[in-house]
Symmetry: C2
Subunit: 377 residues, 2 copies
Amino acid sequence: MNSDDNIQNDSVVDAFGGSVTDYDRLMNEFGIRPIDEVLGLLPKSKRHYYMNRNIMFGHTSLEPVIESINKKKPFAIMTGIKPSSAEYHIGNLITCNEVIYFQKLGGKVYFCIADIESYADGRLPLDQAEQNAIENVADLIALGLNLDKAYVYRQSHQMDVMRLGYLLSSHATHNMMKSIYGEHRLGVYNAAFIQVADILLPQLHNGPLPTVTPIGADQAPHARLSHDFVRKKFFQDTYKFMLPGFTFHKLIQGLDGSDKMAKRNPMSVLTLFESNKSLKKKIMNAFTGGRTTVEEQRELGGQPKICRIFDLYRYFFQSDEKKLKEIEGSCRKGELLCGEDKKNLLGIIQEFMQAHEKKRQDALPKAREVVLERLDG
Amino acid sequence: MNSDDNIQNDSVVDAFGGSVTDYDRLMNEFGIRPIDEVLGLLPKSKRHYYMNRNIMFGHTSLEPVIESINKKKPFAIMTGIKPSSAEYHIGNLITCNEVIYFQKLGGKVYFCIADIESYADGRLPLDQAEQNAIENVADLIALGLNLDKAYVYRQSHQMDVMRLGYLLSSHATHNMMKSIYGEHRLGVYNAAFIQVADILLPQLHNGPLPTVTPIGADQAPHARLSHDFVRKKFFQDTYKFMLPGFTFHKLIQGLDGSDKMAKRNPMSVLTLFESNKSLKKKIMNAFTGGRTTVEEQRELGGQPKICRIFDLYRYFFQSDEKKLKEIEGSCRKGELLCGEDKKNLLGIIQEFMQAHEKKRQDALPKAREVVLERLDG
């Protein structure tokens, strides 16, 4: 495995801890290519605003997917969720948006409920994972997933994925996995093998096929592991898999100014289930690029680059490039003060969440049906 | 895990290499109890001759199975084969005899085709394993397995076994597995987890149930691992598994005088598929306890204790205690010479193999049906 050569335990990334310390080093170590490299292949009208804002910053092997988009040929979008909570984290929204974007461009979505991973990771019982997954899928439907072009499954009920996970593990040593992920219980390494099998499921079902798996940058080791396996002679001979494509997005930082949204630090995280009171508290206390006094802010202007409120606009609540620039501009000039900015955003989020909650409630029966569909055989 | 405490890499046993160096030390290290301890619970008429001959020398947790036998209550026999060859090794016959013996005492047989293990162990493709398994199952039917009281399955097609294997792996560290099995690829450790899941399958399907898995002494680590897992609070709380029972038999030694039958040494091994010529060659060249000259043998007598011909009688070809003693006695007294002894046995084996081959051919269509029955769902 190439992975042994240049990834050490002082890794730039923790795939199971959800963190990245240095994006340039990450790209270098994991062979992630700049997204700009392939944007020219995609008509402007078909680009996601994440691509223009350096949120979706990188890719590997995305070219065949873009070719399929342009030629209206089949391709698949692989995605999934570790059902460790019934509540979608706003970070999950990034992947959802990307998945739905690719689906609208013509792909079929494979949505994996990673219940074996949530067991390996935190010993979450499978039936609890199932309940959480129903809620998660309802969120996804509410956000715009078209179930007619989607295949939803649980790892623990997907025989071919479990089987391929075991076969993959026969090609892996402890040292190799330790060098990529650090020291873990064997179940966690198995979760990585199963995740590779998930990524290859569209090709298991359809034969060689362009696929894209949109992921956060912290998941780069899984992408790398999947390429390492697919390149092995055995898997080439047996399955003729194409290299799966990936897009990588930057992780959204903690609302409170911390580096990452972390559950143990509730003020850093926004879920799609905040009470009005909690939402208000979190937004009004969010870290901004504001100055110490109003006078200073009028004079020096705000700093959108480090502002978590501006981040929320950039990631979720202002898809229009021109309008985003207006917010940025009036902030920089000191015209738009943080308090007003926060109030505006709060209103937008409240409206979004109310509408979302209604759609989610409507989607729940369908979500239950889809999650429980494939019963133990 | 207790296993960490007293099993070192210089282990008395190699579970994946099929060897044991010291039976007393094995019993001590793996907590194997002498079979004599429970024989009193079983009427003499119901004992297998292996139990009287120190072939089936040990057990763990066999008491509930004996109680079920005596009270005609349900119990299960778990067994399986690594389908690495289409040809049953005569050593496989020991387990087959034990399994069929317990089935006749009222138990239901669960027969696992360990195709994930044969992949992990030697990269045997699953479809080749399937073909071998059909042959193996035909042998088993020919030997007397009653399919009406048996459940035959392939690991790679048994969803609940694969799932439980993954859950088990989440409770295991690399150090723990290394201390039991030595250093292996992760697929080999996974084969051990799946094997524990196999052992627990009768209880997964029926709830808590007395079970017996008859194994060769070299498989003691798997037995120990299964007990270690079942004792864990999580598995007690979730599944309420009973401790699975095991019987342990001594491994048959190499025909040529070597310690073990090994494929790389064909003269050491007898399969159920020898040509008449090959059979004759192997038997007539077998290592015996004979003396250097006929005169010496007449005077000192033979040594059945180290004789491989006598071993074949003891294990397979003379179930009658009295007749076995006669052979032993006339050998010791120098009356029965090795040449004659070999010729007698050769006739018996030829007859057995001819009859077996006919039964096996008749059983093949049924074996194919049973192995392929559970298709990918």
